[in-house]
Amino acid sequence: MGSAVIEVTPGWAIAAAAMLGGLVYLAAVFNGMLASRTVGRSPVATLLRPVYETARLLRQRRRSTVAADALLWRIGGAGMLVAALLKLTVIPFGHWTLFDFDAGLVWFNAMDVLVWAMIWLVGWGGNSAHALVGGYRFLALAVAYELPLMFALIAPAIAAESLNVGTIIAAQSGLWFVVWMPFAFLIFSVGVLGFSVWGPFASALGPDIAGGAGAELSGVDRLVFFAGRYGVLAAGAAFAVPLFFGGGSGPMLPAWMWFLAKTVLVLTALIWVGRKLPLFRPDQFMEVGWVLLIPAGILQDLVVALVVTNQ
């Protein structure tokens, strides 16, 4: 059971970044369509909305606050996009990967932990009370979703007996992991929504605190931060494909097309579900995460381990 992927030259990183850009655009348009449908506007008008919004934010003069910690603020704002791009390096695009790393799964996990730092730094940097409250909200939520997420990530690794993403794909040649470890996939999805500050976990950017961690962001800072937020959501959706949906496996079409199709499907599903669920308060979700999701994750890992040892 060897690695099923081929490492490509670093130059392809540009293509990977372009793909992330495409996914971010798609996610923003899809989210905009759902939003305009709820208020009864034509969804077609949102197709070019991200272009206009990008142009507007690029032209907008950067606003600053009194005694802002500009260094940490900028690091946090740009860091989300960097984390998303770094996640993408270990996600195989069909047969090709940028970084065929022994511990690819842990790499992904380390990059989603970077989001902890980034959101808090954005909240801190603006020297604004609402933004700082948002930063603290996120950390409270992060403690609740991160440990269940780690247990969910372990399940495919146990089944494949490897932390290498290519090997995890190869181990699903018979049956996709989503079929026999559904709880791991559900908890993983919760984690992806969590580190993207999306849907029920968006309280760190909530309108009740004037936009929370992002409250004081303007101009290009705002553009990069929110593109990065869509970026980590897209990277999370893309990582579900090698982890639970057999990577690029599928009939007829080439592997990269299957990978893209599955990624888009997971991404749109996450956006749609995220909009349907009510907002979780961090303190409420803490108990859900630790009393329900962690035991569920451990039981899922136990079941997977028992299946693997009895094969």
């Binding site: 910690d69 790393f101 842990v106 932990v113 902890w116 730092a117 603290y136």
Partner: protein, 189 residues
């Protein structure tokens, strides 16, 4: 390692030391905490360059997570005005300096006096397993005893520091169905 690899490795070393020192230069708790995080990330990348894939990434993962949480506590407890304002990162300079110098001399002496393998023997087949054997192999009994003691200490520490225990939550006879908590929400409340 190649020449470029060597240079990058030493660069990470310099980053680790300088950002470690920056912890004391800067005047904000947030900057100090994240300077320490950068120092740890640089060390993690060095460990990664030594082909310890898992350990290197785990160092980065744990330390970023730890520093994110530490920033909360540092800002909460340090300083007169919960460290939201600029403040000096050094205090009790004479004692701290002497402790730092003694520790440095001890560690440096340890490096110089250790009998390192002579020449450059070929690295082991699986360096992670080799490192685990070298660190823990002969001390497995101590490690096995240590972990339950540590867990017991954590549980005892938490239960001693709780200001509301199960008798407050479920009543004197523990018969109350739903916990009586000052803060509602979560599971089954």
């Amino acid at each position: 390692m190649t020449l470029i690899g060597d240079i990058v490795f030493w660069l990470f070393g310099a980053v680790a030391v300088l950002s470690g020192a920056a912890v004391f230069w800067v005047n904000s708790m947030a900057r100090a905490t994240y300077a320490l995080a950068i120092s740890f990330v640089a060390v993690g990348l060095q460990v990664l360059m030594l082909d310890q894939a898992y350990l290197g990434i785990i160092v980065i993962l744990m330390m970023v997570m730890e520093m994110a949480v530490m920033a909360v506590y540092m800002i909460m407890f340090m300083g007169m005005n919960p460290a939201l304002m600029p403040m000096s990162m050094v205090h009790d300079k004479r004692l701290s300096l002497s402790i730092a110098i003694v520790t440095f001399v001890l560690l440096a002496a340890g490096i110089l006096l250790t009998a390192w393998p002579s020449g450059s023997p070929p690295p082991a087949e699986d360096v992670t397993v080799a490192l685990g054997e070298a660190l823990m192999g002969s001390k497995m009994l101590a490690m096995v005893v240590l972990s339950p003691v540590m867990v017991a200490t954590i549980v005892a520490g938490v239960s001693l520091s709780l200001n509301r225990g199960r008798y407050d939550r479920y009543g004197e006879d523990l018969r109350r169905r739903n916990a009586d908590d000052p803060q509602p929400g979560g599971v089954g409340r």
